[in-house]
Symmetry: C2
Subunit: 128 residues, 2 copies
DNA sequence: CCGTATATATGTATAAGACACATATAATCA
DNA sequence: TGATTATATGTGTCTTATACATATATACGG
């Protein structure tokens, strides 16, 4: 038994001096979805696949992704239509709105700033 | 009144098409504290000041910072001694341990990976 | 002696976020 | 009829962020 209590979500201790850390950006899935929809309209099931290459931390839960999409639409950041032309069951195809596009711009600006904060820490780490 | 519900923590809508986003790395204060202590031993009150230039999102709450430091010590990532030599009230001076140093290394590695994920999104954004 | 600043804690509370799992629906196809 | 695709909502738990209150003790200035 390890005397240490339970560990934080984003890191775990594999053994003495052996740590694994997963640095996450809060709500990173949001700009990811907005960017994918800015590239081209898409639907939930398709987005889930595209997000995997993006987020790298495993699969996205379908339920939570659909919930996010409904929420983005309720905020006016995306709009959707039921597309009938495609084969298979009905797909709700989302596209980004002007508002969503401007939120994406704000995300990008903020991610650049965040990158600079991280870079600043890393540079300082190098000098030790 | 705005029909939209309450907003996420990390962004707010100032007006039509006017968003402000704050991209945060989860638990970023942890590598920041470890790095500062890797540079030189320090105590809570002093760290609070140094962290402001680092984190950029306003002041750090003293209570929560002290709690974090006690927690890091309980995990064996830092150690502390009461230093009597200095003027003023007793200061608990922390220094990083070997374990803490290795956790910092893991954080750095993970932050680099995170930077690359962000960069990847930003590059893709540029192509739109 | 008293108030203020420095310094270190702990207690409590709430909101937001991450994540997992269950359930429900409908269409399509083999 | 059952499997696959596709969309949703409900629920629950844990973590993180943050704020505010409270308590202690030292030291210094007036």
């Amino acid at each position: 038994m390890d005397k240490r209590g339970r560990q934080p979500r984003c890191r775990c201790r594999l053994g003495p001096g052996n740590y694994q850390v997963q640095a996450r950006v809060e709500r990173f899935i949001e700009p990811a979805v907005l960017l994918l929809l800015a590239e081209s309209p898409s639907h939930g099931y398709e987005l889930a696949e595209a997000l995997e290459s993006f987020l790298e931390d495993g699969r996205v839960d379908f339920g939570n992704l659909y919930r996010l999409l409904r929420s983005l639409e309720s905020e006016g950041l995306v709009t959707s239509v039921w597309s009938e032309e495609a084969p298979g069951p009905l797909k709700r195809t989302y596209k980004i709105t002007e508002e969503g596009s401007q939120l994406l711009d704000a995300w990008v600006e903020s991610l650049r700033a965040g990158q600079e904060r991280i870079a600043s820490l890393l540079r300082r780490y190098e000098t030790i």
